[in-house]
């Protein structure tokens, strides 16, 4: 039953651009899908109480390594993106391994990772001779516009399908983790590290695995964003505000459910777009104003997020289904 609903919804999403191809709504959908994937990547570790404020850094690495490899080395994104993912993974290990080894947890972990996103932002700005600094950076257009080799497409439909498949792959990864022993290990760790270790869980290794996975997925989101928008700047793909934006969207959507980050992305991006269209330049700042108030309200009143709370209500209405334990810190 659940599977058939998912298959139907998936088929509908794949068929959409062939039936309906207005460029602007498709653009919004693509942006939503890319950010949903980024937010899902963050929630892979965030749902286990590993709150990272460094994911802006991983996203920036993904975007800039891919673009720099293409512009300076002539390396196709087909090779550049894997290199960017490895770079993101290595950076994650460099920072996260000592953190986990020395048991830096909770808001100390958040602050160390905050320093990481600060470093990436400042390095991008400081190496302005190569990266364009805060003015931003554009991957060179391949002659002719669209090219599979350069991973550059002018058609929105192609991009929609790419973003859709990456987003679906992200959800698949989420479910794979959800059904693995890793999930139980990490839930145990988020409740009590010593207890988990005593029960035979390799705390550092389990945390490191999920962190590297999450970081590499975020780097992929950054690379994808770069290839689609063809323009990146330190403020749009890296830094502390992007890190906070990820946390915020996930908390609003629902941190413990697979579609929570997606719901968060839909809400935040639609809110920004609606305000922008209805108020134009007068709306500058209003979207973040509403975000900020919502974030505070959600953490105080609805820590499970919109989707999480809705599903919780439905589950309470149908007592046959066993309630799933909600563990860890939101």
């Amino acid at each position: 039953m659940k599977r058939s609903v998912a298959v139907c919804a998936g088929a509908g999403l794949v068929a959409l651009p062939f039936v309906y191809h207005q460029p602007y709504p498709l653009h919004i959908l693509i942006v939503i899908l890319i950010w949903s994937f980024a937010y899902t990547s963050w929630s892979m570790m965030g749902r286990f109480g590993l709150v990272s404020l460094g994911h802006g850094g991983f996203m920036g690495i993904g975007a800039y390594v891919t673009a720099l490899a293409w512009n300076h080395g002539g390396v196709s994104p087909w090779f550049g993106i894997p290199v960017a993912l490895v770079a993101g993974g290595v950076l994650a290990v460099l920072v996260a391994y000592p953190c986990f080894r020395f048991r830096i947890t909770g808001h100390y972990f958040a602050l160390v990772t905050l320093a990481l996103s600060g470093i990436v932002l400042q390095v991008i700005t400081a190496t302005r001779d190569h990266t364009g600094g805060s003015l931003g950076y554009t991957p060179t257009r391949y002659q002719g516009g669209s090219s599979l080799y350069a991973l550059q497409f002018t058609g929105k439909t192609t991009w929609y399908l790419i973003a859709l498949s990456v987003w679906a792959a992200g959800l698949y990864a989420w479910h794979r983790v959800d059904r693995s022993m890793t999930r139980y290990a990490l839930e145990a760790i988020s409740e009590d590290e010593d207890g988990a270790a005593a029960a035979g869980v390799h705390v550092t290794a389990e945390k490191l695995k999920i962190t590297v996975l999450s970081a590499m997925m975020t780097a992929l989101a950054g690379a994808l964003y770069c290839q689609y928008q063809m323009f990146i700047s330190p403020d749009t793909v890296s830094g502390i505000s992007i890190s906070l934006q990820m946390v915020f969207a996930v908390v609003v959507g629902g941190i413990y459910v697979s579609l929570g980050p997606t719901v968060g992305a839909v809400i935040t991006i639609l809110l920004a777009e609606v305000l922008r269209i209805s108020f134009g330049t007068r709306a500058v700042g209003w979207d973040n104003l509403v975000y900020g108030v919502l974030l505070v309200l959600f953490i105080v009143f609805l820590p499970k997020g919109i989707l999480g709370s809705l599903l919780g209500l439905r589950r309470r209405a149908a007592p046959a289904a066993p309630p799933r334990a909600q563990t860890g810190a939101a």
Partner: protein, 289 residues
């Protein structure tokens, strides 16, 4: 090139002066961090509002500068109390990370409230203070003034914490949260006083920073992150450690800026922070969550 040339000396002195201001900023955050065990991610945004307050009172309404500064200190102190009562108090029992995220929401709110109300133009007081020329070095009076006022502010807070009953209660709560409520200290009242004090320090910092930097809604991001790192590096609730860390960071930024770029100074400071977290985790942090 001599080892101690005049540029190096100038950078060192400017580093010390910057360190004083950073120490003052981190003192307020450290106080809140150490006593209430909450990270005000939006601390730098409180300072930004204070800077706007100074700008409007002094440049637009033509108040005398000391009166403007006094009102800013009181006003930002009140903002600190509001932040505590509205956002932090309902979350005191929640996971620490939720409190951190909620103040992240306040950060978004304050930034965009400033954008909506004041626009994104850079503004400054238009106050031209002379530059001190000594032995071939250029040191601006505004930096000296900020440094001096930061020192006075820190001494005042130190005396308050050491010499008054409330100050003793604040230090006691920072040492042991559970036991002090049993000793008859009303921790809620102490939290409000601490928030007011933390806010007032942010207000004082804003009066000094407005002499050095232009105000715009995102000015908080330029010195906010470094402030958290100083607090963590110095040790939770360890005010002396925080001051030492502030001077180390300021020298790193200043010297990095001398030899390379200002951004590289920040990179060195961030890298230094991460390395120190690994090298001396227990020595640098008084408590862990």
């Amino acid at each position: 090139m001599p080892i101690l040339d005049v540029y190096l000396l100038e950078a060192l002195i400017n580093g010390v002066l910057l360190g004083g201001v950073l120490a003052l900023i981190s003192l307020g955050l450290n106080l809140v961090f150490g006593v209430i065990d909450v990270v005000w991610i939006c601390y730098a945004e409180l300072i930004m509002f204070g800077m706007y307050g100074m700008y409007f009172l002094y440049s637009v309404f033509h108040w005398p500068i000391l009166a403007a500064a006094a009102l800013c200190i009181v006003g930002v102190g009140a903002l600190g109390v509001l932040l505590h009562v509205i956002v932090i108090a309902p979350l005191l029992g929640a996971a620490p990370i939720n409190q951190l995220l909620a103040t992240g929401g306040v950060l978004f709110f304050l930034q965009s409230a400033a954008t909506v109300m004041f626009g994104i133009e850079f503004r400054n007081l238009g106050l031209r203070l002379p530059v001190l020329k000594a032995a071939g070095m250029f040191i601006s009076y505004s930096r000296l003034l900020a440094f001096g006022a930061a020192l006075i502010g820190m001494v005042a807070v130190y005396l308050f914490l050491r010499r008054t009953y409330t100050g003793a209660a604040i230090r006691a709560i920072a040492q042991d949260r559970q036991i002090m409520t049993l000793m008859g200290v009303d921790s809620r009242r102490i939290y409000v006083v601490t928030s007011a004090l933390g806010g007032a320090l942010a207000g004082l910092a804003s009066c000094l920073l407005v002499l050095l930097y232009d105000v715009h809604p995102f000015v908080g991001l330029t010195f906010g992150p470094i402030t958290f790192l100083i607090c963590v590096l110095g040790g939770l609730g360890n005010f002396v450690g925080g001051a030492v860390a502030a001077f180390v960071f300021a020298e790193l930024i200043s010297l990095g800026g001398l030899y390379l770029d200002l951004e590289w100074g920040y990179v060195f400071a961030f890298v230094f922070f991460i390395v120190m977290m690994f090298v001396r985790p227990e020595g640098l942090m008084a408590r862990r969550s």
